[in-house]
Symmetry: C2
Subunit: 401 residues, 2 copies
DNA sequence: GTGACTTTCTCCAAGTCGTGAATTAAGTAG
DNA sequence: CTACTTAATTCACGACTTGGAGAAAGTCAC
């Protein structure tokens, strides 16, 4: 609460941030374009760009052919100015990846885990961190930060709460910080995937969007005004545990009638079995695909799929009415399987549940990035901070994304 | 999208805004206190305050006794620097009120309406505007703005959509602007009441909150990061039409199982009648109170009340999980009646539906202001703008709140 | 009263920053 | 090679915050 004043330095930082973000997001741009985009004077752009080139964060990238005048020199963020690491802590694996600033993967390590114990997870992440740094040949001091995507709720002090996995207030950020000097940013996996999708996938260009993830679990990342919405203590977006059927099916969170209890993959299969359906696949994903395929011929399967679309549509409509996004991006392995075949029906069903006005403003699309984008999204956390700070390098160590 | 740069003037405006807002919100403050609060240097505070005193927006308000030094001079916003008008456009009346900057009511006019036609509403609001200006003896040029609270969805161009009342894309802002030179700000009534609660009622001090209103209809105002959340096109907050019972009771919005269809006053009475309950009261409010009173003795009534609490709790839990507010403020006449008797049970029921972590961070309280605060809230819209702009007077005419 | 002391507030000389106008740089067209 | 066009840089200027010095306005002991 003590950063309320504005000083002349905030002004410069803010202008650097605007320029740097534009260059980063909208690819090589000339000084001239930056000037018109940001409405900064040509002089200021020149000044700020010169400074950033001297610092090494921005570099010139050829020039564009002219039509009778001095050609524009294009600028881009120097890919190798610094590097970032993203870690995905899942229920079955820990993956650590190192990227350059253009988000090219330079190294990857995977560690399988069966039951994710905090200590083991911390060990793997730290091992992974030194491993990817080592194999890529990058200097540790050139790593801008480590973004960690984790299941459960992550509060603003990087403490993780995951009721279903027995993680009760695990200070993951602290624990990791004890093993490295690299700045650490922790966030929920749904949020980081959402972040990746917003930057590089189906969310590009939107400022108010929701990235909805349907797999075994159900979650959503809320993006408002261009940045991720977190609520008071960073636990916003638990869309999967909103009630859509009061007094309905029990959910693993302990409540009844949660959306997840109707459209989560396990629950869909469960409903299919209860309706008398038979599954041959052992694997959950294969079984889910089997139900979808069976819907062509089997009435039972068709009914289950229809219901699933309906429930999901109601969940979407709730988002539309409550949050009024311009875009909803559906992802998660189950969400994608469902969406690939039934997106038009889903859209239509949302229209039946939502109010006309906000519904007319939303577009519903599918995720474009695979599940692997979780670590990518985590790695964007330090990049986001870099851009926000106008390229100033971070001093502190632990924080929530 | 063209206000992205920061100039040296933005800095001053921003600092003026911070100081002015502090003085306005936290009552008489000395320059010294302002300096420590804002972390601006004493020199800057002095400079900015001198300027604002010269402009007349801030005035000195006595001094505080010292303990052996120069006494601090207290500063406050000059109550009579400018005035604001708030209009409430309801389904049965149009009310227009004039306030000074301390939000004291200086004049009020009411116009009963039966079916709110856009033309009639515009006529009444404009008549009311000249009327309150006339009776209070304020100069029209000293009226900072007219805030209008209206039912339905208000988009960013001050166009009103109210499906249920037949208002389809009514350009209320434009229509009003043709009849006056005073700047106009239009917003939804739930939002303005929420705004009033946040400033002067149960929401004080919270930055992420939801003001939930339960009457005949059900709505909510979402406040995130201290300011009202609006979504892409200002239609966020339609909490009443989120599905909590898939395939359930039909709602007047056309969908099924909306929260409003379960906890809206009409629907509660309807459920009571369907359960075999008998009502003597003709008036809706009296009837609602009758059901609540009957719950002491009648099992039918008790059942209906229990269910209502449950449904409402589920609706609250959805907000808790999805938005993660630090406070939920329950209001609306039915909400207040229910809350006065059953708030503890409601809180407990929310706990059963919500996730532990976000639930532990939310407090659920009742509105402190009456229904009349709708116009008050509308009148805060121009004040909010004044504070945001650091006391600079507004040039444009029409906009959404 | 008076002098010593304390605290609040204001004035002034830096130092920083964005801007507009003028200037330089770097092309194309004929 | 000249005329023209467009991009980028330079520079004087005004607006801004700041820290420190000093003025203002009290209290307190005597």
């Amino acid at each position: 609460m003590e950063y309320r004043r504005t000083t002349v330095r905030d002004m410069r930082r803010s202008n650097r941030s605007v320029i740097l973000t534009d260059i980063y997001r909208d690819g090589p741009l000339s000084r001239h374009e930056l000037s018109t985009r940001t409405s900064l004077s040509a002089a200021s752009v020149s000044n700020l760009v010169t400074e950033m080139i001297a610092e090494g964060i921005v570099e010139e990238a050829g020039s564009v052919e002219s039509e009778g005048g001095r050609p524009r020199v294009l600028l881009r963020v120097a890919r190798e100015f610094r590097y970032v690491v993203g870690a995905e802590v899942g229920e079955t694996r820990v993956r650590v990846e190192l990227f350059d600033l253009a988000m090219n993967v330079l190294a990857t390590v995977d560690y399988p885990v069966d039951a994710p114990e905090p200590d083991v997870v911390v060990k793997h992440v730290l091992e992974g961190l030194t491993s990817v740094i080592g194999t890529s040949g990058v200097r540790a001091s050139d790593v801008l930060g480590l973004g960690v995507a984790v299941f459960g709720i992550v509060d603003s002090a990087a403490v993780v709460h995951a009721q279903t996995l027995g993680w009760d207030a695990v200070p993951l950020g602290q624990m990791l910080a004890e093993g490295t000097d690299i700045p650490i940013l922790v966030d929920n996996g749904a949020n980081t995937l959402g972040q990746a999708e917003m930057w590089f996938g189906a969310g590009r260009g939107a400022t108010d969007a929701v990235v909805a993830l349907v797999g075994s679990g159900v979650g959503a990342a809320l993006v408002t005004g261009g940045s991720s919405y977190r609520g008071t203590r960073s636990s916003a977006g638990e869309w999967g545990h909103t009630t859509i059927m009061y007094g309905g099916r029990g959910c693993r969170c302990g409540a009844e009638g949660c959306l997840e209890a109707y459209v989560g993959a396990e629950d869909v299969l469960d409903r299919y079995r209860q309706a008398g359906g038979v599954l041959t696949a052992v694997d959950e994903e294969a079984a889910f695909a089997e139900v979808l395929a069976a819907a062509e011929s089997s009435e039972i399967a068709a009914g289950v799929v229809d219901d699933t679309i309906g429930y999901l549509a109601a969940g979407f409509a709730n988002l539309v009415n409550l949050v009024n996004p311009e875009r909803i991006v559906l992802g998660g392995w189950a969400g994608l399987l469902l969406g690939e075949h039934h997106l038009p029906r889903l859209r239509e069903a949302v229209g039946r549940h939502a109010l006309r006005q906000p519904y007319s403003q939303v577009s519903i699309v599918l995720c474009e990035l695979g599940r692997d984008a979780v670590a990518l999204g985590a790695a964007t956390l330090p990049v986001l901070r870099l851009l926000r700070d106008g390229g100033a390098l971070p001093p502190p160590k632990v924080a929530a994304g």
